[in-house]
Symmetry: C2
Subunit: 216 residues, 2 copies
């Protein structure tokens, strides 16, 4: 990372899958969650693109265009977060590797670790936020988008749910070992709140999708 070679999202899907499978520290579960979030947003955009311009959906066209501009922004932001997750993991991996023997060295390492943990948390928190935003848009598409693409709304919601909860695991793996418990608890509580809202939405969307498929 940090400018050396090709970015992860410019790798082919085959190469990205192989890189994820390797023991290399990045990409890991955080970056992969952002990738899955991007695919969830992409399905939202696809549903918009299959709705816009269709006579039966003329009355919602402006609203769907607005949704499309937002799913496209999230799709791109999530792709950027794949890269950013690798960048913020770098200082943490370095801090982990430091050999501290004297008490002074241990204090210095602890301080470095603490800062690195806070930085490493920032990207998965953002993945959680973007996943929730995308679920809100998919909820609109489940009600107003083309019925021909209703299963894609459902799959999009499942992907955003995975990115939401995957992001959360990558938050708490860092907060759980922070010394600053007040900070850690506040990040965990905010994340849990976002995840709770996202899970409720995902559940509502997949139920709607299930009903609409079965009525078809």
């Amino acid at each position: 990372m940090g400018g050396c070679g090709v970015s992860f999202v410019d790798k082919s899907c085959v190469e990205f899958s192989a890189a994820l499978a390797s023991k290399a520290p990045v990409p890991g579960g955080g970056g992969a969650s952002a990738m899955v979030g991007s695919l969830g947003a992409a399905l939202g955009s696809m549903v918009c693109n299959l709705t816009i311009g269709k006579k039966a959906y003329m009355d919602v066209e402006e609203e769907i265009k607005d949704v499309l501009s937002k799913t496209e922004r999230i799709r791109e932001d999530m792709l950027n977060l794949v890269e950013k997750d690798a960048e913020v993991f770098e200082p943490l991996a370095k801090a982990y590797g430091i050999k501290a023997q004297s008490p002074e060295e241990r204090v210095a390492k602890d301080a470095l670790m603490e800062r690195a943990l806070k930085t490493a948390c920032s990207v998965p928190v953002e993945i959680v936020k973007q996943s929730l935003e995308c679920l809100k848009l998919l909820a609109v598409l489940g009600r107003k988008g083309s019925r021909l693409a209703i299963s894609d709304v459902g799959v999009g919601a499942l992907f955003c749910q995975a990115a939401l909860e995957g992001g959360r695991f990558n938050v708490i793996i860092n907060t759980s070992i922070m010394k600053d418990r007040a900070y850690a608890t506040s990040v965990e509580q905010e994340t849990d709140r976002l995840v709770r809202d996202g899970l409720a939405l995902a559940d509502e969307i997949t139920r709607t999708v299930e009903q609409r498929i079965k009525k078809s």
Copy 2:
């Protein structure tokens, strides 16, 4: 498709995400589910690769090597299913497009549609099966894999759960409009059984991961 141009999984992640977002009939939610399943299997492989060769896990090394060979097979099978999903959708898209006016034409179109729907179902059923197999392997990794990679086991399980349920949506979108109700019901019931088993496993894995992270 069908030999014309680059395969979907050879596209870069950025290009695949953009192709999914477009109104083009493929890739769709089925192929995307296979892609997410491949990433779930990749995280399983990563956890194996971070466990093998480590002193603390010498007693489970052979078992983890066996798990790795299986997650790697699923990872590759899932990548192939991304392509196959597009291939089996082609005859269905063609059948949909046929203009049938006379009663004879309508009978012929119905027969073609029915066959195309059964073919289109085959790939998502396979995605559901492979996702369940991968969840079984991730359950082993949650108990025996390196604790340093415990969050990745959880994220892998979330991805396989999304692929499992995403595959199911792509099964029932096809079975719901089949005329052969006996066939449709039998496929739906088998799929529901696999999904029920998979969801129970995913729930067990994510609970274990949550507990192990919080104890760290």
